[in-house]
């Protein structure tokens, strides 16, 4: 199919350029991490499909490093629409969730796999 493949070099070049740009972006990004020293660290756990503590108070306008330890054997997915976060936490595992500085307010989150019990809020003040 000679005709069909005639435009390939053009597409290929473009795509390779895009891919290279994306790779560069991904690789270069870790070289400029956020001011790690200014992060407020908070740790919570999941047990019996509930968050403990379910209410977290954090300083407003400050980056937050939230560590979630899943003490259950089954996986959970930390999900918060207001925060724009979705993160899977393996059973008996833990995950780090990085939050950008928050405006004062209340932000709800749930464990997507057990939404009836796994509920919590982050209060930025």
């Amino acid at each position: 199919m000679r005709h069909v493949s005639s435009a390939r070099p053009g597409i290929l070049n473009g795509l390779i350029l895009c891919a290279a740009a994306l790779c560069a972006l991904t690789l270069a990004a870790p070289l400029a991490p956020a001011g790690a020293a200014e992060e407020a660290e908070v740790t919570i756990s999941i047990k019996d499909h509930k968050f403990d503590p379910a209410e977290i108070k954090v300083p407003a306008q400050k980056a937050i490093k939230l560590t979630v330890n899943n003490l259950d054997a089954s996986a959970e997915e930390f999900e918060s629409h207001p925060l724009g976060v979705e993160k899977v936490i393996a059973g008996k595992g833990s995950a780090t969730i990085r939050l950008k500085p928050l405006a004062k307010g209340t932000y709800a989150f749930v464990g997507e796999y057990h939404e009836e019990t796994a509920k919590g809020t982050i209060i930025a003040e």
Binding site: A7, G14, E77
Partner: protein, 293 residues
Amino acid sequence: MLAALIIVFREVLEAGLIIGVVLAASRGVEGRGRAVALGVLAGLAGSVLVALFAAEISQAFAGRGQEIFNASVLFLAVIMLTWHVVWMANHAREMTARLKQLGHAVAVGQESVLVLSIAVGAAVMREGSEVVLFLAGIIMQGASNTAALALGSLGGLLLGAAVSAVVYSGLMVVPLKRVFTVTGVLVTLLAAGLAAEAVRQLSNAGLINVLDGTLWDTSWLLGEDSWPGRVLHVLIGYMDRPNGIEVLAYVATVATIFLLAQRVHQRPVTEKAKLHALAASSRRSGVTDRDAA
């Protein structure tokens, strides 16, 4: 049972909508069914692997592994969809003509079919791993309601597949003359949404720290967590609270695909135009010759 149905439905719908659109966009391409089926199977196998190594992936890159992995899978899908749109932009006229003439699928190059498999595989792997983890959790709990949960999950799977089939059939109704334009636009917006999602992942991981303020908030109008919001999020990348870098990724993807499609699209046209010009000028010179004689 209802909770299980909803969770599985959500994930299947997200992957299913992408499959439906890709299938419709590759109408008339010989072997697309096989390519998509292959992609689904590979994606499912990948899901199981990703679920098995969820803890390891998450711990990699100082706890940023999951975001980097997700972003990579999404970017892969974006590149494959871009390829597809550009290829289709270049061959739509020829495909339409041949489909009308032959009335059956047109044989195309191997790589044009392979991109379909990879795009679908990436979509299935991303959503599938979450379903696998959820189902593994159900089995692990060994509770008395395991059967009910399994039934709910099956219901969610079937429902998700059914809605995707409806979207596909809807696109198949589009007249042949216009179908590649419609699906081209749809796949472009879909890819742009995936690119924005990939950038969100990197931004969440703290790997991108520019333009990360929320640009607007339309969650009061249409929440991204509502059903219409979810469907629009998959199909056209609707975001209710996007930040600057996500919008930039979205716009950049649309612009890139558009420019690539235009550029490739124009090449044969310019060649043809040159021939026309050549023929016209020789005709004209012929006329003047005769006039001179």
